[in-house]
């Protein structure tokens, strides 16, 4: 493997062929108002790997993910999954949004939220059968939450909420998992539970892409890093893309020496 550095116009040459990549974007630009949050980004995520999307606050990490999924409308750009248009591959990907994006006073129990991961399979009229409930419970126990199935979701701690969201994505049985800041504001037990599940997914040959803010844990948790600051800066194995020179470029003066030390 070799390191892909961004060429001058911000484009990155793909590490793998686009046709094999579970998620590839080309020339993606997203703008809220007149200021682009993501500008002309090319990204090709490697299959079967765990990739961290890192970059400073406001660098467009979450926006990149949301635009790739069609949650925000890009100004321009093309998204492919395994070389095919996104909408034909939706059933193979699962999204874990930031937990703060929903109102947790919603009338639902933990198991009801996990069952939402099966809505596509159930369709409009399909009855929830014993095997669906079993799937949901199995996903809950993978994140260590089987004892909470009948809790109202408003009674959960932040870390527990995050684990419920992950369980819902697991219920979809996807090949590509996209997570938006899964470790933001969670307790140590949750962080361990989540990273364990993600590594299991990788063992099974599935692909994980996560927006990640804690630079100190990138080398421990992830194989590859995608560094972004509105433009794509680098993508590659952690040992090559997650190095002080590249991070310095992405973060400018905002990166403390200690963090760079952790990265190096």
């Amino acid at each position: 493997m070799h390191l892909e550095l961004a060429s001058r116009d911000g484009h990155i040459e793909p590490a793998e062929g686009i046709s094999q990549s579970p998620l590839a974007v080309r020339g993606l630009t997203v703008s809220y108002g007149e200021k682009p949050a993501v500008f002309s980004v090319d990204a090709t995520f490697a299959p079967g790997a765990m990739t961290a999307i890192v970059g400073p606050n406001g660098a467009g990490k979450s926006t990149l993910l949301k635009a790739a999924l069609g949650i925000v409308q890009p100004l321009s750009g093309r998204v492919t999954c395994w070389g095919r248009p996104l909408h034909t591959q939706r059933h193979r990907l699962a999204y874990v949004p930031q937990r703060a994006s929903v109102d947790w006073d919603f009338p639902a129990r933990v198991r009801d939220v996990v069952l939402m991961g099966l809505y596509r399979e159930l369709g409009l009229l399909g009855r929830v059968r014993a095997r669906h409930v079993e799937t949901a419970m199995a996903c809950l126990s993978r994140v260590g939450m089987e004892g909470f199935a009948d809790r109202q979701i408003g009674q959960l701690s932040g870390g527990q909420q995050q684990r419920v969201f992950l369980a819902r994505a697991l219920a979809e049985g996807a090949d590509l998992y996209l997570l938006d800041e899964p470790f933001a504001g969670v307790d140590v037990a949750t962080e361990k539970a989540i990273i364990g599940v993600l590594k299991d997914l990788r063992e099974q040959g599935r692909t994980v892409v996560a927006v990640h803010h804690d630079l100190s844990t990138v080398p421990d948790y992830f194989d590859r890093a995608f560094v972004i600051n509105t433009r794509a800066i680098a993508e590659g194995p952690v040992a090559q893309a997650f190095v002080p020179e590249i991070l310095q470029e992405a973060y400018g003066g905002r990166l403390a020496g200690a963090q760079i030390g952790a990265a190096g």
């Binding site: 929903v102 639902a108 409009l124």
Partner: protein
């Protein structure tokens, strides 16, 4: 009379209207649940007020075509068109301009309603057509309702109910987590449009019975009331349907007991009575239950503080603490601890010391996280763990 009305003994027409109103109420309660959960309830207010110009214009068109302008299907079609226009305006304003949705709702609601009032005023001065009775669309009336009208209302209500139940999963997902919903490939705009379309249909179908000003209440109040009773979407849907149906039934029946009673306000008052009952009496989320829970908690805190003070030989000044401890037989009237009080105090102090030890031990992080100053440790740990803990507690210091 009221009993006759509620048992459907006021004649054929009143019975028809009552059953129609009950069906409408069920459909409104179910549809409104999804609006309420998605925090879009007020959009239905804009929709309903936007029906008025449509009613007036449909009347004019029908008169111009040679009719008397009173055919209900025609009036409903007109109201649906102008309500649809209002909905498009709200949606366009909040998506394409910097106006927030509530501002867009306010603007559309007032402009369309104003336009409707002007159209109705023009109609009053027209010589052709039978304009008397158009104003009943504001507040609803059951007097003079025909068999055909009731059939339109009942069928419309039943259809909306079926569609709402069919779309319950996408609408639930859109209400709870729209980003995730899009991520699964759901067409969020289409689902929201369907949700608004159902609210529009309820408004139009309910125009004759409830009237356009108050239909929003029939959409929102049952769902809000139902939320007090349950923590599940399915439960809210069922209970909101039942409460809406009961309100429609009772309201329509009661309004049939006197000739000029407006139906809409009475249905809404019936719904409000059910809301009030839910607000006060529901277990869990109800106000009374919350007050009771708070008092019980306060009592536990005071007793615990009092016992710890006793154990450490400190005086108790707080009157509530003293009163509670006297009532529990822990201190005598003069404030001196009883035998029972001393025993309980020693136990509380031991518990507090065990907790302090547990919380200082980083290996016990999970157990320590459950510390709330009230829960006795021996309800959380096994006797063996307690013994183990006590071994490290060191010599007992006398209180």
């Amino acid at each position: 009379m009221i009993w006759d009305a509620l048992t459907l003994q006021l004649g054929y027409n009143a019975t028809l209207v009552t059953i129609g109103a009950a069906l409408l109420g069920i459909a409104a309660g179910v549809t409104g649940t999804f609006l309420f959960l998605g925090k879009r309830a007020l959009v239905s207010d804009a929709i309903s007020h936007a029906t008025l110009p449509g009613v007036g214009l449909a009347f004019m068109v029908m008169v111009a075509l040679g009719g008397d302008g009173r055919a209900l299907p025609g009036l409903l079609a007109g109201s649906a068109l102008s309500a649809g226009a209002g909905l498009v305006c709200v949606s366009w304003l909040s998506r394409r301009t910097r106006l927030a949705e509530d501002a867009a709702i306010g603007a559309v609601l007032s402009v369309f309603f104003g336009l409707g009032v002007v159209v109705l005023t023009v109609i009053q001065s027209m010589s052709a057509g039978r304009q008397a009775g158009l104003e009943t669309f504001l507040l609803g009336a059951t007097a003079g309702m025909l068999w055909n009208d009731a059939v339109v209302i009942a069928t419309g209500g039943a259809l909306v109910l079926l569609l709402a139940l069919l779309l319950r999963r996408p609408m639930t997902l859109a209400a709870f987590d729209p980003e995730y919903a899009v991520g699964t490939g759901m067409n969020l705009r289409r689902v929201e449009l369907a949700m608004m379309g159902l609210a529009l249909a309820i408004t139009v179908v309910g125009l004759k019975i409830v009237g356009l000003i108050l239909i929003v209440a029939l959409l929102i109040i049952p769902a809000v009331a139902a939320r007090f009773w349950t923590n599940r979407v399915g439960g809210v849907v069922l209970i909101a349907g039942a409460l809406g149906g009961a309100s429609g039934y009772a309201g329509a029946a009661l309004s049939a007991t006197a000739p000029n009673l407006p139906t809409g306000p009475i249905i809404v008052l019936a719904a409000f009575a059910l809301f009030l009952l839910s607000l006060l009496a529901a277990p869990g989320r109800g106000v009374l239950a919350a007050v009771l829970r708070h008092l019980r908690f306060q009592r536990r805190v005071h007793l615990r503080q009092g016992l710890l003070a006793l154990a450490q030989g400190q005086p108790i000044y707080e009157p509530l603490t003293l009163r509670l401890m006297r009532r529990a037989g822990l201190v005598r009237a003069d404030g001196v601890a009883t035998e029972k009080g001393r025993a309980r105090a020693a136990k509380a102090l031991l518990d507090e010391r065990r907790w302090a030890l547990l919380r200082s031990d980083p290996r016990q992080e999970t157990a320590a996280a459950r510390y709330d100053g009230l829960t006795p440790l021996d309800t959380l740990l096994t006797p063996d763990q307690i013994v183990e803990l006590d071994r490290n507690l060191g010599p007992r210091t006398a209180p």
